[in-house]
């Protein structure tokens, strides 16, 4: 069952300058992004800093208003709603409960002055999931149950965030996000701020919860290995554009876009007998999204560029079944 989809989603941020703060330019953070996610599915979004992957996550949950394009949300009853221009008052509570998010840094995303109990109870209260005289008791039971589910002791409910390690805090953030039984969880770099030995614990936990609840995940990360492990389908972003989209294993076995190939060649080998960084051929740095290159956004750094690449922006082409890539090379 479909939960959410986007068509030609664009997000430009205005740059204001001068005394009257007139708009003097635009940061083109997202360009024509098309996605679709259904129950139980995981979509991975990968790319370097500034590629728009976090903006995409935030625009989907409507932290940012899209500049143009549409976002379609299907509520649990199966009815579709266009939420790109503002959400219907009757749909909004359902949407807010249905789509939850966890963030990169668990040191910032928990309120230091709230106990863990209050933190996890907040969404339960906001969405009025418990009512009546026994509500408080029922909520406390729910908090205890959630803490156990994420691998913490129920006694921890009385404590404050500073008493926990990074991994434990991320577990608390996960408990908070799944407290209202969302159907879609957006994870924005959930393991990047954690130690290596703890990262795997959190990834396992997210997969366990997904298996149990059949919720959908949008998993945003710069770490290709982690995204590969989590995702059914991966979208590779560069400068606000989706340049390649394919099933996870297919993307790793047959990367089609030169940028994806370059990204993969830059992953360290973990083998000191077979060092590979010397073979990485990617020159330069990503250009600014304020003034993106004409034609294909990757052409100034691309080792295979053709005359056409600086003039015409390539569209998505299907290179094999379900595997799309935006590159002129596929049409030669």
């Amino acid at each position: 069952m479909k939960i959410l989809s986007t068509r030609n989603l664009k997000k430009y941020f205005p740059i204001r300058s001068g005394v009257f703060l007139q708009v003097s330019g635009w940061v083109r953070a997202l360009e024509n992004v098309n996605t679709e996610i259904g129950q139980g599915e995981t979509i991975g979004i990968v790319g370097e800093s500034g590629c728009g992957k976090s903006t995409l996550g935030r625009t989907i949950v409507k932290i940012h208003e899209p500049t143009s394009g549409s976002i379609t949300y299907c509520d649990p009853s199966g009815a579709s709603h266009d939420i790109s221009k503002g959400i219907d008052r009757r749909v909004e509570p359902v949407f807010r409960k249905d789509v939850q998010m966890i963030f990169q840094n668990p040191f910032d995303s928990l309120d230091p002055r709230m106990t863990i109990r209050d933190t996890i109870r907040e969404p339960l209260q906001t969405h009025r999931l418990f009512a009546g005289r026994k509500a408080t008791k029922a909520m406390d039971e729910r908090v205890a149950e959630l803490l156990m589910k994420v691998g913490l002791y129920p006694e921890y409910a009385q404590r404050y965030p500073h008493e926990f390690s990074g991994g434990q805090r991320q577990r608390i953030a996960i408990a908070r996000s799944i407290s209202v039984n969302p159907r879609l969880l957006i994870c924005d770099e959930p393991t990047s701020a954690l130690d290596v030995s703890v990262q795997s614990q959190i990834i396992n936990l997210l997969r366990d919860i997904q298996r149990e609840t059949n919720m959908a995940l949008i998993f945003i990360s710069h770490n290709l290995d982690v995204v590969h492990h989590m995702s059914d389908r991966i979208m590779v972003m560069y400068l606000g554009n989706v340049v390649e989209s394919a099933p996870a294993t297919e993307l790793f076995d047959n990367p089609a876009h030169p940028y994806t190939q370059a990204l993969m060649s830059a992953i360290p080998s973990w083998n000191p007998k077979d060092r590979k960084l010397g073979q990485v051929k990617l020159e330069g740095e990503p250009p600014s999204p304020i003034n993106p290159p004409s034609g294909c956004p990757f052409h100034p750094r691309c080792p295979h560029r053709l005359a056409n690449c600086s003039k015409v922006k390539p569209g998505m082409a299907e290179v094999s079944e379900g595997h799309f890539s935006a590159c002129h090379l596929h049409r030669v």
């Binding site: 370097e48 290596v196 795997s200 290995d225 294993t249 370059a262 990617l282």
Partner: protein, 347 residues
Amino acid sequence: MTGAIGHEHELEYEREREREPERERILTVRNLKTYFPTPEGIVRAVDDVSFHLDRGEVLALVGESGCGKSVSAHSILGLIKAPPAKVEGEIVFGDRNLIGLAEKEYRHVRGKQISMIFQEPMSAFDPLYTVGHQLMEVAKAHMPWDESQAKERIIDTLKSIHIPEPEKRYDEYPHEMSGGMLQRIMIAMTLITSPDIIIADEPTTALDVTIQAQVLNLMQDLQNQYRGSIIFITHDLGTVAEIADRVHVMYAGKIVEKAPVVELFASPIHPYTAGLLTSRVRREYKGKDLPYIEGHVPRAYEFPEGCRFHPRCPKAVAKCKEIPPPEFEPAQGHTVACWLLEGGHNR
């Protein structure tokens, strides 16, 4: 069996020594202890750590947050304020002990003979001055050049690490550059004085993978070119495999394993090192649960008694809870602080 292996290693080591006869020891750290008093108790951030560095080698200090790798580096550079902190032991550089050196003398060492590259290039530069001005400060403090000579040398250094349009970059402010470019400028800054040792504290952690590859390549080139020594501090074993000659793994203020890089990746012995290596997200694990190390890194004021890794160790025995393990040397140049090796038993 262990004897035979040990012998072979010894032979190999001898052969290596013959090939490279003049291995010059450049830095020796002995029993370094850096303690900080805090309201929660004394933090033994670096606790009895010993290692050495030879000329022309890259030594990696690896570990997770709070293991003491950065504090070790700051101790070497005399950047720990003592008191209130306590720094003990020996840091022998050249023919003198750096611990207890007067600040005035330390200034001739720090930034000149031992330089540092910091993790966050964006916060390591002063936003109010041009990059050139900040490079010039280093040159003026340590080199006998006049202004125009210094500028020439700085531009040469920038050119040598392939920074495009160095004259233009010289007059730019930090905010006008990307993180990768600034990190390269910081590398140039350390090179101006041709130091004997460069300490690089997570130099690529804040950078994207493709830029990380460029910066690591650059460091490798320089190291081959100048035969300087690098202490490379990181939490990322992937980059260690790419750049290090020898690796020291740290956990909770102690070095738990020291080994040549190839050996460490091929046959890690300490359960923590083995755990770190298996924590890597491999493609084969797709669809399965990832292996991981139980528990979490202890906080600095509550390091456990005995072996500090024992609460998370799958192989811990009774002794591990009580007595900190000494260093065993299962092979030449490979030491491990773990009770499992007691009596020559390997694992």
